[in-house]
Amino acid sequence: MQRRDFLTTLPAGLAAAGAGLAMPAIWSPARAQSRQETLLIVSESGPNNLDVMGVGTTVPGYEVSWNCYDRLISHEMKTLPDGTPYYDRDRFRPELAEDMSVGDMSVTFRLRRDATFHDGAPVTARDVKWSFDRAVTVGGFPTFQMKAGSLEKPEQFVVVDDHTFRVDFIRKDRLTIPDLAVVVPCVMNSELLKKRATPADPWALDYAKQNTAGGGAYRVTRWTPGSEVVFERFDNWKSGPLPKVRRVIWRMVPSSGNRRALLERGDADISYDLPNKDFSEMRGAGKLTITSVPYSNGLQYLGMNVKKAPFDNLKVRQAVAYAVPYQKIMDAVLYGLGKPMFGAPADAPTTVSWPQPTKYVTDLARAKQLLTEAGYPDGFEVPMSFDLGFSQVNEPLCTLVQENLAQIGIRTTLNKIPGANWRTELNKKEMPLFTNVFSGWLDYPEYFFFWCYHGQNSVFNTMSYQSPGMDRLIDGARAAAAAGDTESYDRDVRGFVDLAFSDIPRIPLYQPYSNVAMQKNISGYQYWFHRRLDYRAFSKA
C-alpha cells in the first residue's frame, strides 16, 4: 500500500466505523425465555470446580455440589424465631436412602429403588461405595473432612446388595452420622465416571471438574468459569419434592455496588455477599427481603500467640480482653449484623453450648491496671495482623481495637496480609496478635474446641495454645459424646468453655451473620451449615 492510497482510504474507513456505531435500531425487545421460571443469582465469585472432591475446589463449588448431587441423608429443617428455616443439627431425613438403621458398630442404609442419575442409570449401592472410596482416597480437603467423622478407609464401605449399603465404624464417634450429611460424601455416577477415568486419573477428577455426574435435583448445563453457571432442573429427581424453579442462572458480578444496584432495580433475584453497610441500609429501605442468620459454630475473634512474650502472660491477655471496644465494633463495623459474644451478666451460668458470650466488657481502667500488674506499666509495641481478603470488616475492626489498645499503652501497627497469603501466615503461627474467623460445618462444641484449642495444635489453633487440662476436658467430652454419657459430656463442655474464657488465648468478639438479600417474590431460603444456597426449596411468585 502506498502512502497516498492509505491516506485517501483513511477517512472512508473512519466514516464506515462511525456508521457502524450509529446503526439504526432494528430489533424487538422480546425475551426468548420467561423470567418467571428462572432464578437469577449474583455473587462476587463463582466455582473453579464442579466437584467437591476436586483438587483445590473453592467454596462456591460446594454450592454446585450441594444442588447437583444427592447425599444418603440430609437434615430436617427447623424454624428460627424470625421465621427463617434453619437446618436441624439433630434430626436427619433420608435423601437417597429410604431409611437408615444405626447399629452398635455400623449403620445400614436402604436406597431408593426408583432413583436415577441424570443420564438415566439407576443409583445402586456400588455407586455409593465408589463415591465414598473416592472421598477417602483422593486426599486433600474431602479426605480430611471424611476423617473428621472417623470415615477413613474404603473397607468401611460395604455393598450388601444393589440397594443396601453399610458403613462400618472404626471407632465410636458421634460425628460419623452428621459427617455423612455434609457436602463431601455425595453420590456420583460411578459407571459414567469410570468410563472417563484414565490410568493417570483413576477417579475421573478431570471429567467431574467440568461436568456434573450425579443424580441431584439440578445439573449444570453451561459453565463459563469466572462469569456464569447455568443450572437446569432434573425433572426425574426422586429424592424429594420436585423443585419449583426450573432454571437457575448464577452470574459473577465483582463490584458489590453493582450487585446492590441489580437487586434494587429488581434485575437480580438473590445476592448474598454484600458489605454489612449495604445489608443494613437495604433492610431499612424495606424493598427487599433480607435474612440474617448467625453462622453456626462460627466466631470472629482476636487471637494472641501464647507461646511468645508478651502474650504468654495471662494478665496481658486479660488486659487486652478488657480493652476491646466490643460495642463499637458491633455498631460501626457490623451495623448490628452480628451476634455479640461478650458482656454476659456476671452471674450467668456457663451453658452446654457454643458459641456463648464471655463476661468481658470494655473497661479501660481495669485493662490498664492488669497491664501494670503484668509488668508493662508503659505498655509495649506489637503488630496486629488481619486478612485483607475480608478487609471490609477486618480493617475497621482492627482500627477500633488499635485505638483502644493505644489508650492503655499498647502501640500496634496494622499488618495487612493479602488473602492468598493469609493461611500461610496462620500456619507459621508467628503472628502475635490477629483477628480471624473460624466456623465448623459440624455444629458441636467439642468439634470447635478440638480444632481450635486442643494441644494437637492444628492449623486453627492459631494461638498455639497448649494446656493439658484443656486437652483432658476436650478428649473427655468427645469420649462421653460417643458413649452417650450426657452427664460427663455436659460437665466437660462447661469445663472447657470456662477454661477457654479464663485463660483467654483468643477473645471471642461476635458470631458473624450470614446475610442474604432477595426480591420480595422469592421465598424458600433455608440456612445450611455450609452457608450456600439450596435451590431446591426456592420458589418465585
Binding site: W27, A32, T57, P225, S227, R251, N258, A420
Partner: protein, 337 residues
C-alpha cells in the same frame, strides 16, 4: 517494508524470552501460597502439603521453570486454578471480549477527540478550545472505575436507560455462534439482530467509560500537532493560493498532523488495555483483565504468566503496526527504522 517487519519480529523474540523469564521469577517471588489458598479454609497442614505436591509446587524453582518452558514450547500455558480451565483456552475465549471493548472505546474516543482537537486548534482561545480543555482534563482526572460506577449509577440505577451491568449479554440471551468472538460481528453474521442489539446495549456504558478516559491524550495531541502545522509555511502558501478552508485543514494540515496522533494512539491503546482491568471489574465483563486480577489475588501463577505473555505479544504487534502505519503516512519514518 517486508524486511523491516521481519527484522522487528526477530528482535521481538528476545523481548518475549525476557518476559517469560521475568514473569516466572516475579510470580515466584510474590508473597502468597497457592497451595494454602486452594486447600480451603478447613485444610490441615497435611492437606496443604498434599495439594502442593499434586500441583508440582514442591519441586525446586529451576525444575518448575524447565517444566514451564517445555510446556510453553508445546503451546501449553498451564492450567488456571481459579477457573479450573487451561489458560490458553481461557485467554482465547476472553481476549475477544476485551478486544471488542477496547477497540470500540478507542473508535468512539477518536470520533470525539479528533474533531474536537481540530476545532480547538483552528480557534485557539475560543469557547470550543476551553470546552476541549475542560473535557480532557476531566477525562484524565477521573479514575475509570469511578467514571464506570458513576455511569452505572446514573444511566442504569437512576434513569434505567442502560441495561444491567451483567457482562457482555443479558442473561436471557444466548451468545451468537463463535466466528470471531466479537459478539457484534458474530451476531450480525448470524443475522441475529436481537442479540446484536443486546450486545450493543451492554457495550454502551463500558465503551463510554473507556472513551472518556482515552479522550484527553488524543484530543490534546491533535490540537498541539494541528497548531504547529497550521502556522507552518505550506499552510500559509495553501491559504494564499486560495484553496478552500476545508481542503487546507484536512488535506494539507491534518494529514501532516497525523503522525504524532498515530504515535499517541499506540500509547493510548496500551493505556486502555490497562484501564480495561478496572472497567471489566465494574461491568462484570469476562475479559482478560479481570481474569488476570482474579488469578493474581489467588496467587495462581499460570494465568498471570499467560496474561503477561499475551500482553507482551500484543504490545510487540501493536508497536509494529504503529511503525508500519507511520511508514505509510510519512516516507521519512520508513528510512529512519
Amino acid at each position: 517494508m517486508g524486511a523491516m517487519i521481519l527484522r522487528r519480529l526477530a528482535v521481538a523474540v528476545f523481548s518475549l524470552i525476557g518476559v517469560v523469564v521475568i514473569t516466572f521469577a516475579l510470580t515466584r517471588v510474590l508473597p502468597g501460597d497457592t497451595a494454602a489458598y486452594f486447600a480451603g479454609p478447613a485444610a490441615s497442614r497435611e492437606a496443604i502439603e498434599q495439594l502442593r505436591h499434586s500441583l508440582g509446587l514442591d519441586k525446586p524453582a529451576a525444575e518448575q521453570f524447565a517444566d514451564y518452558v517445555a510446556a510453553l514450547a508445546r503451546g501449553d500455558l498451564g492450567n488456571s486454578l481459579t477457573t479450573g480451565q487451561p489458560v490458553l483456552s481461557d485467554l482465547l475465549s476472553r481476549l475477544p471480549a476485551s478486544a471488542e471493548l477496547t477497540l470500540l472505546g478507542l473508535l468512539v474516543s477518536l470520533a470525539i477527540a479528533i474533531p474536537f482537537g481540530i476545532l480547538a486548534a483552528v480557534k485557539p482561545g475560543s469557547f470550543v478550545d476551553h470546552a476541549c480543555r475542560l473535557v480532557t482534563t476531566a477525562g484524565v482526572s477521573l479514575p475509570v472505575f469511578f467514571t464506570g460506577l458513576l455511569l452505572v449509577y446514573v444511566f442504569y440505577f437512576i434513569l434505567g436507560w442502560a441495561p444491567a451491568p451483567l457482562g457482555r449479554l443479558d442473561v436471557f440471551l444466548s451468545a451468537p455462534p463463535t466466528v470471531t468472538g466479537f459478539f457484534l460481528i458474530d451476531s450480525a453474521l448470524a443475522g441475529d439482530w436481537e442479540t446484536f442489539r443486546g450486545a450493543l446495549s451492554q457495550l454502551v456504558l463500558p465503551v463510554l467509560t473507556l472513551a472518556i478516559f482515552a479522550l484527553a491524550p488524543i484530543a490534546r495531541m491533535t490540537r498541539a500537532a494541528m497548531l504547529a502545522v497550521l502556522t507552518s509555511d505550506f499552510v500559509r502558501t495553501a491559504r494564499a493560493s486560495g484553496l478552500t478552508p476545508w481542503s487546507v485543514l484536512i488535506t494539507y494540515a491534518f494529514r501532516n498532523a497525523l503522525l504524532p496522533v498515530v504515535t499517541t494512539l499506540g500509547m493510548v491503546f496500551s493505556f486502555l488495555l490497562g484501564a480495561n482491568v478496572l472497567v471489566e471489574k465494574v461491568f462484570a465483563w469476562p475479559g482478560i483483565g479481570s481474569y488476570a486480577i482474579e488469578a493474581l489475588i489467588a496467587s495462581d501463577f499460570a494465568p498471570v504468566q499467560g496474561f503477561v505473555l499475551a500482553m507482551a505479544v500484543m504490545y510487540v504487534l501493536l508497536n509494529l503496526l504503529i511503525d508500519v502505519l507511520q511508514g505509510l503516512i510519512d516516507p521519512r519514518a520508513r528510512t529512519a527504522t
